[in-house]
C-alpha cells in the first residue's frame, strides 16, 4: 500500500486567481511536514484554473489541481471532488479567500491522534481586512475555551453553533465509512454537513488554538454567498437545510438535539436576518416573515424556553405575525446599550413585552420580561426608543421633533420634564452643541421638539469631525435618560435634510450637515460642502488622511494627545504631585476631609462624626468626597469629586482625614495631618492579611495593605473582639480608640434627642410607604457572596419566594431587602405590596432604626443591630459557600438559625413568640462584640480631636494631636503589643 500524507487540504476556488496562491501558500507553509494540497477549480471563467496548475507544477507531489467542467454554483460539489481526489489520512477544507494558521494541521492532527477523535475542531477567527489594521473577531470563542473531547454531540449540543466545515480536520475513514458528503445545489451546505458529521462522530475533539482565518473584505458588488442574505431564495435555502437537518435528527431519534438546534436557529440564524429586515423593501419583508413563520410553526414550542429570552420573543412574535414587536425584540441587545423599541405592559405583577394583548399560556411565558428589570432599573439605564416626527431646515432655522416611549409609565404624568437636543461629534462625543427642547406627555409617550439656529449652536471643526450624531436627553424630576432619535413609521423622509453650519477651520471643509439614517436606524449627519471647491478640498484631505504618511501622522498626533492627556490627568501624576508639591502647602487649620465607602455615599461613621461637629458648633471646615454624584451629600459642606485635583488638594492641606475604608493608595500622609480610620463594621469574615487571597497572593498586595494601614493615626474599635480580629488582621499599628462607633450612637440612644435624625427616619418611612397599617418591617441584609465560579453574585435573591411571602406573611410583615452595596435585588412588580428594595438608601442606620427585626447571614450588620435588642434571624442555607469566620456563629448567634425557605417562614411567623427566648443570648452578644458602644462615640471623638477653645488659633490643632499621642482616658495602646 502506498504511504499516505498525514493531512490533505482541499482548497476550493472560483474566479479568485488573485488570492488562490496565498491560500495554497498557507497550506504549504505548515509546520507539519506531510501536508498535501488539492486545489479544485469550480470552472472559473478567469485564470484561476491556470494558476492552480502552475502551483501544481511548482510543487510536484505536494499540490494537485483539479478542474470541474461545469460551474456547480456552490461549495458542495468542489469539496466532494476534492475529498475524492485527495489521499491524506485526514482531510481539511480551505476556501481560496481564506488562510490556514501555520500550525493548524499539526494541532488538529496531534489532537486527533491523542484523542482518537473522528473529527477535531479548532477556533476560527474572522479577520476584517477593511477596517484599519485587521481587526480580529473569534467565531464562537466560548466553544473553544479549552481542549475537550466529546463522546457524542449529546455531550455538548452547543457545538451546533459552529456550523463551519472549514476549521476542522476529518479522519478520512470516518468520512468514507459514514458516507459523509456535502449536499450540492443548495447554499449553506456547511450547516447540514457539520450537523451530520457531529452526529455521526463517535468522538469529537476541540482545541483552543486558532486554526482558520476567515478573511472578511467588504467590497461593493460581488458579495460572497454567505453574505448575500438579501435574496429571499437564500433564506429559503437556509430553511430547506434546516428541514433536512430536522429530518436527520428525527431519523436518529435525537429529539433533544433537535431542540438544541432549533434554539440555535432562533438565537443565531433568525436573529441575523431579522436585524437586517429594517432596511429591506416591504415585499422582501413580507415574503421573509411568511417563510419564517411557516418554519417556526413546525418547531416544538419548547424552543421558546430553550432559546435566549429576547430571540425567543422575536421568534414567537414572528410566528404570531407581530412584526414590529418581533423587530424590536431582535434589535434589543444590539450595540452596547440596548434600546427598548416595543411597548411594555404590566399584568398580574409581571412585565410583558409588546403591549397589552390577551395572552395564551405559551405567550405569557415567552413574553415575560420581568427579569430584565425594566420596572425597577433607574431611568438612566433605560433606553426607550425615540422616533423623529419632524426634521426640517427653513432658511437659517431648523426644527426637529419626535416622540419617546415611556415604558411602563415610568415617567409619571406630573413629573417635572426638561429636555435638551444635542448634536455631537461621533469621534469625540464630548464635543457637542445643545439646545433646549420642549418636552410634554402625549398619550403614553413623551413628545419633544426644538427650534435651533444650527450655524450658531453646532460648530464643527471641519475635516476632523465628518460625522455628527444626535441625542436627546430628557430629565424627569431630576432623573435623566438619554435617547437616540431614530427612524420610525411616523417619520418623514430623514435623508438629505441639510442644516447650515460654519466649520471653525475653514468653509472649505463644508457648509452643511446632511442627515442620513444609520444601519441601526438612528439619525446622523455628515459634514458636506456643496461648492465645487469645498468638494475638492474634502477629497484632497480625505486622500491625504488615507495615505500611508497621513495615517501615520494622524496616529502620532492622536498618540501624542493621548499621552499628554494621560500625563496631565492620570492618577499617577496626581499622586506624584500630591507627594512632592501639594503636601508642602500649608495645612488649613480646622479642615476635615470626610469620605465614606470610597465616596459612594454620605453615611456611616464619618457622617455621624460630621453631624456631631455641626451640632456642637465646632468651627471646622468640612469637606466631603463623592465618587460619582454629589446628590445626597450635605449642602453645608464643601464637596470634592474623588480623584479630582480639588480632592487631592483638599487631602493635602487637611488637618484631619476621616474615612471608613481607605484613601487612595500611594498618598503619603503628612505628619501634620491626623488620620482617623473609623472602619465600617466589626468582622466575622477574615479581614486583611487573614484573607485567603492575600495569603495566596503576591507580595505586592500585602505591601499595598501595609502602606495603607500604616497611615492611620487612630483606629476605632467596638470591643476586644475587634482588637483581636480586625485590627490584628489589618495589621493596625496605630492607637486603637475604644470609643465605639458613632453610627451606632442612635441605636443606643434612640432618636428622641435628635430631631434631625428623627426627621430622616420619618422621611424614610414615608418614601418606603411604611407605618400606616400596623405591619412590622423586617430587614433582609445578606453579605456579599461569590458564586461557584468564584465571581461575585450581583443579583441578590430574596430567600423567600415573593409571592409566598406576600401570601403567608404579607399581612403582618413588610420585607425590606438591602443587597450588599456591590449588588442589586431582583424583585418582580408583584412583590411591591410586601417587599421593598432599600438598596438605594445611602445610610443604613435609619434603616436599622425602622426595622423591627433583622434577617442576615454573615454580614457585619448583626453586630450593630444587636444593640437594638430586637429579634434577629440567621438564614444560612449554604454555609460552606462562605468559608470560615472568626468564631462559631452557630454557637453564638443571638437568634434562630434557619437553613431552608420553610424554616425561615416559620421563624418569621413566630418572631414575637421566640423573641424572649433569645434575649439572654442577644445581651451576651452585645456584651462581647459591642462593649464600647455606649451612645457617646461621636462626642468622645469630637471632644478629643476638636476640643473647644476660647479663641480660634493655630495652636488648637497641635493641642489636639498632642492629646492624641498622650492617649486619653478612653484609649489604650494595644496596637503593636497585640499584633505579631
Amino acid at each position: 500500500m502506498r504511504a499516505r500524507p498525514d493531512v490533505s487540504v482541499v482548497v476550493i476556488a472560483y474566479n479568485d486567481e488573485r488570492r488562490l496562491p496565498r491560500a495554497v501558500g498557507s497550506a504549504l507553509g505548515q509546520s507539519l511536514g506531510g501536508v498535501e494540497v488539492v486545489v479544485v477549480d469550480d470552472a472559473s471563467t478567469d485564470g484561476t484554473g491556470d494558476v492552480a496548475e502552475r502551483l501544481a507544477a511548482e510543487h510536484p507531489g505536494r499540490v494537485r489541481a483539479e478542474r470541474l467542467p461545469v460551474n456547480s454554483g456552490g461549495c458542495g460539489r468542489p469539496r466532494n471532488v476534492g475529498v475524492e481526489r485527495s489521499s491524506g489520512r485526514y482531510v481539511m477544507f480551505l476556501d481560496s479567500d481564506d488562510l490556514l494558521d501555520r500550525h493548524a494541521c499539526l494541532n488538529l492532527l496531534s489532537a486527533a491522534e491523542e484523542t482518537g477523535a473522528d473529527l477535531v475542531s479548532g477556533l476560527c477567527a474572522r479577520v476584517h481586512l477593511d477596517r484599519g489594521s485587521g481587526r480580529v473577531r473569534p467565531w464562537y470563542p466560548w466553544l473553544y475555551e479549552r481542549r475537550a473531547v466529546y463522546g457524542s454531540l449529546r455531550d455538548n449540543p452547543d457545538m451546533l453553533y459552529d456550523t463551519l466545515s472549514t476549521n476542522k480536520a476529518y479522519r478520512r475513514g470516518f468520512l468514507e465509512g459514514r458516507g459523509l458528503r456535502f449536499v450540492e445545489r443548495l447554499h449553506y451546505e456547511d450547516l447540514l454537513f457539520t450537523a451530520e458529521a457531529y452526529l455521526a462522530a463517535d468522538r469529537t475533539a476541540v482545541i483552543p488554538h486558532r486554526v482558520y482565518n476567515w478573511l472578511v473584505e467588504r467590497r461593493e458588488g460581488a458579495q460572497s454567498i454567505s453574505n448575500r442574505r438579501a435574496e429571499l431564495a437564500n433564506f429559503a435555502d437556509r430553511l430547506e437545510i434546516h428541514r433536512r437537518i430536522d429530518g436527520l435528527f428525527a431519523e436518529r431519534g435525537a429529539g433533544e438535539l433537535k431542540l438544541a438546534k432549533d434554539a440555535k436557529f432562533v438565537n443565531h440564524d433568525l436573529l441575523l436576518y431579522l436585524r437586517e429586515l429594517r432596511n429591506r423593501d416591504p415585499e422582501y419583508r413580507d415574503g421573509f416573515l411568511d417563510l419564517a413563520a411557516g418554519y417556526l410553526a413546525e418547531l416544538d414550542p419548547r424552543v421558546y424556553e430553550a432559546a435566549n429570552p429576547m430571540p425567543a420573543i422575536a421568534a414567537y412574535l414572528v410566528r404570531e405575525g407581530d412584526r414590529e414587536g418581533a423587530l424590536a425584540a431582535a434589535e434589543y441587545g444590539r450595540g452596547r446599550r440596548p434600546e427598548i423599541r416595543a411597548a411594555l405592559a404590566e399584568r398580574g405583577g409581571r412585565i410583558y413585552w409588546g403591549g397589552a394583548r390577551p395572552l395564551e399560556p405559551v405567550g405569557r411565558r415567552v413574553l415575560d420580561v420581568t427579569g430584565f428589570g425594566f420596572h425597577r432599573r433607574p431611568l438612566a439605564e433605560l433606553r426607550p426608543a425615540n422616533t423623529v416626527t419632524e426634521l426640517e431646515a427653513r432658511g437659517r432655522r431648523a426644527r426637529v421633533a419626535g416622540r419617546v416611549l415611556n415604558p411602563l409609565g415610568r415617567v409619571a404624568e406630573g413629573a417635572e420634564l426638561r429636555g435638551t437636543v444635542e448634536f455631537y461629534d461621533r469621534r469625540r462625543p464630548s464635543r457637542s452643541g445643545a439646545v433646549r427642547a420642549d418636552v410634554a406627555h402625549e398619550g403614553d409617550r413623551l413628545a419633544w421638539s426644538a427650534d435651533l439656529d444650527p450655524a450658531r449652536r453646532i460648530r464643527p471643526l471641519g475635516f476632523a469631525d465628518p460625522v455628527w450624531d444626535l441625542r436627546v436627553r430628557i430629565s424627569a424630576d431630576g432623573q435623566e435618560m438619554v435617547t437616540r432619535p431614530s427612524e420610525g413609521p411616523e417619520s418623514p423622509g430623514l435623508d438629505g435634510v441639510v442644516l447650515p453650519v460654519r466649520p471653525r477651520l475653514t468653509r472649505l471643509a463644508g457648509d452643511g450637515l446632511r442627515s442620513y439614517v444609520t444601519e441601526a436606524g438612528h439619525v446622523a449627519f455628515r459634514l458636506e460642502g456643496r461648492r465645487p471647491l469645498s468638494r475638492l478640498a474634502q477629497a484632497a484631505v480625505h486622500r491625504a488622511a488615507r495615505s500611508r504618511a497621513g495615517r501615520s501622522a494622524w496616529r502620532r498626533v492622536r498618540r501624542a494627545r493621548h499621552t499628554a492627556r494621560r500625563a496631565l490627568t492620570s492618577r499617577g501624576t496626581k499622586v506624584m504631585l500630591f507627594n512632592r508639591v501639594l503636601t508642602r502647602l500649608p495645612v488649613r487649620t480646622g479642615s476635615v476631609v470626610f469620605e465614606s465607602h470610597l465616596g459612594t455615599r454620605y453615611a456611616d461613621n464619618p457622617k455621624y462624626i460630621h453631624r456631631e461637629l455641626r451640632r456642637s458648633g465646632r468651627p471646622v471646615r468640612a469637606i466631603w468626597s463623592y465618587a460619582a454624584s454629589p446628590k445626597g451629600f450635605p449642602k453645608d459642606a464643601e464637596l470634592v469629586r474623588r480623584g479630582s485635583w480639588a480632592y487631592y488638594l483638599a487631602l493635602a492641606r487637611a488637618e484631619f482625614w476621616i474615612d471608613n475604608q481607605g484613601f487612595p493608595d500611594g498618598l503619603r500622609k503628612r505628619r501634620a495631618t491626623t488620620y482617623l480610620q473609623t472602619w465600617h463594621g466589626s468582622a466575622f469574615k477574615p479581614m486583611g492579611y487573614d484573607q485567603q487571597h492575600l495569603k495566596e497572593g503576591a507580595e505586592g498586595e500585602r505591601a499595598r495593605l501595609r502602606r495603607m494601614v500604616d497611615r492611620y493615626d487612630c483606629f476605632l474599635v467596638r470591643s476586644d473582639h475587634d482588637v483581636g480580629t480586625l485590627a490584628r488582621g489589618l495589621g493596625v499599628r496605630s492607637e486603637l480608640l475604644a470609643a465605639g462607633y458613632p453610627r451606632n450612637d442612635p441605636l443606643v440612644n434612640g432618636v428622641d434627642g435628635d430631631p434631625e435624625l428623627a426627621a430622616e427616619v420619618d422621611e424614610l418611612r414615608r418614601t418606603l410607604r411604611l407605618g400606616d397599617d400596623g405591619r412590622r418591617a423586617v430587614l433582609y441584609a445578606p453579605t456579599f457572596r461569590r458564586g461557584p465560579d468564584g465571581r461575585p453574585v450581583r443579583e441578590t435573591q430574596v430567600p423567600i419566594d415573593p409571592e409566598r411571602f406576600a401570601r403567608e406573611l404579607g399581612r403582618d410583615l413588610v420585607l425590606l431587602v438591602r443587597p450588599h452595596y456591590l449588588c442589586g435585588a431582583d424583585l418582580p412588580p408583584s412583590a411591591r405590596c410586601a417587599i421593598r428594595d432599600v438598596g438605594a438608601v445611602p445610610d443604613v442606620t435609619p434603616l436599622l432604626l425602622i426595622a423591627d427585626a433583622l434577617i442576615t447571614d454573615h454580614s457585619s450588620i448583626m453586630f450593630d443591630y444587636a444593640l437594638l435588642d430586637r429579634p434577629m434571624l440567621f438564614h444560612l442555607p449554604d454555609e460552606e459557600a462562605f468559608g470560615t469566620g472568626y468564631f462559631d456563629l452557630t454557637a453564638h448567634a443571638p437568634g434562630p438559625i434557619t437553613r431552608t425557605e420553610g424554616e425561615l417562614v416559620t421563624a418569621l411567623s413566630r418572631l414575637e413568640a421566640d423573641a424572649p427566648a433569645h434575649a439572654a443570648r442577644r445581651r451576651a452578644f452585645v456584651a462581647r462584640f459591642g462593649e464600647h458602644d455606649r451612645g457617646t462615640a461621636a462626642r468622645t471623638i469630637v471632644d478629643r480631636y476638636f476640643p473647644e477653645r476660647p479663641a480660634r488659633g493655630h495652636g488648637r490643632a497641635a493641642g489636639g494631636r498632642r492629646r492624641a499621642r498622650d492617649g486619653g482616658t478612653e484609649s489604650r495602646r494595644t496596637g503593636r503589643a497585640r499584633t505579631p
Partner: protein, 417 residues
Amino acid sequence: MPEPRDVFIVCNNIDGMGGLQRWARHIAGLFAARGHRVTLVGVTRAPEPHPYEPDGSFTEVVLHDEWRPPALAWRAGTLRKRLNVAARGRDLWRTAGVRRGAGRLSELFARAEPGAVVIVAQVWAMEWVRSADTTGLKVVGMSHESYAASRSSSRHRRVKEHFTGADRFLALTAEDADAWARAGMTNADHMPNPLHVAPGFLAPGSVTPGAAAPLGSPVVASVGRLSREKGNELLLEAWERADARHRGWSLHVYGGGPQEDELRAQADAAGIAGSVEFRGVTSDVEAALTGASVFALPSRAEGFPMSVLESMAFGLPTVAFDCAPGVRELLDDGETGLLVRPGDTAAFAAALDRLVDDAELRRRMGAAARGSVQRFRPDRVLDRWERLFSLLHSDVPPQRSPAGGEAEASRIARPVQ
C-alpha cells in the same frame, strides 16, 4: 528504535543549581540513551556553578564565559528613552554579543545532519537561537512555568515575541498550553517533565523506585527552597492549626533559603517549634521521603513540581495548594492527594489531619500516586518527544509518476456523478 537525530538543548545556563538544569541534564541523558547525538548548550555560565559529574553521553557547550551586557534588550518606549545615548550604546554592545554567540550556534547547527531539532528551554536563550541560522532544523521553544507565572512577569511578552515563530512551543501541561493558545500562541502544545529520581536509585530495567515509603513514621515532610513563592510560612500556619502536632506527629522541612530565619522565628512565636524540624538542604531525597508518611506542598506558584513527582514515586500521599495547572495535572484531588484552595490554611490543616488520622487512606492514596506517576515515566515522555520530532520533520510520501498523475487528471475532468 527511531532514527538517531542531532538534538540541541539550549538553556540560559547549564551549570546552575536549579530545577531547570536538573531537567536539562536528565532529558539530555535520556535522549542520548536512545541513540541521539545530544548537545547541551548554555548561553552563559551560572553565577555560582554547581560541580555536575560530567556525563559522557552528551556534549556540553557554553557560548559566553561571561555575559556582561544588559540582560534584556532595550525597549525605547518614550521619546526621552529614545534619546538616551548610553542605553543605545549598551544595546548595540549587547546586540553584537548576541550575534557573536549566535555565530557559534550557527556553526554547531551547520554540522547537524538532516532531521535535527533545537530545543530552547528558556525564552532568554531563544534570542540567540533566533539570531542563529536554523535552516533545516526544527526549533521547539519551552516554558518551564505555569502560564499565570509568565503572565505576571515580562516573560509573557517575551515568550510571545520570541517563540511565536518557533515550530512548536511547549508548556508543561495541557491547561497551560490552552491558556497560551487562547493568548494567540497557535504553536502551543505541552510536554510534561519526565519522572526524575536520584541516580542510582532506579533498579536496572525498572523506572520507578524499588521500594515505596513504609508510611509508618509520624512525619509530614516538605522539600523545597525556603523562599516566599514556596509558601513555607503558610505551611507553618496550617501546622499551628492542625491537630496532628498534638498527637506526636512532626513536620520536617527540608531545604534552605532566604526565609529560613524568619520561618524559625515564626515557629517559635507560634509555639510549634517543638514539632517542627528544619532539616536543611538534603542530597538524599530518598531518605527524606521514605522516612515520612505525608508530603506537603504549600507553594504559591509552581510549574510542574519535581518534588511532587518524587513523592508520588515513593508512594506518599500529598497535600497541596491548588496553585497551578502542573499541580492539578499531577495530583487527582481525593485520589492521589488532597488539593485545597490557595491560601486557605484552615483547609490545608484539615487536609493534613485527614491523612494523619487515617492510615488506610494514606496507604490507598500513596499506592494510587505511585501508579499514577507512571504516566510520566521517562520512556513515555520520550515517546512523546520523538513523535513530535517525526511530525515536524515528516514529508509527503514520494510523488507518483508524472504520467500517472496526468492520466488521473484527465479522468477527473469528466463529470464525477
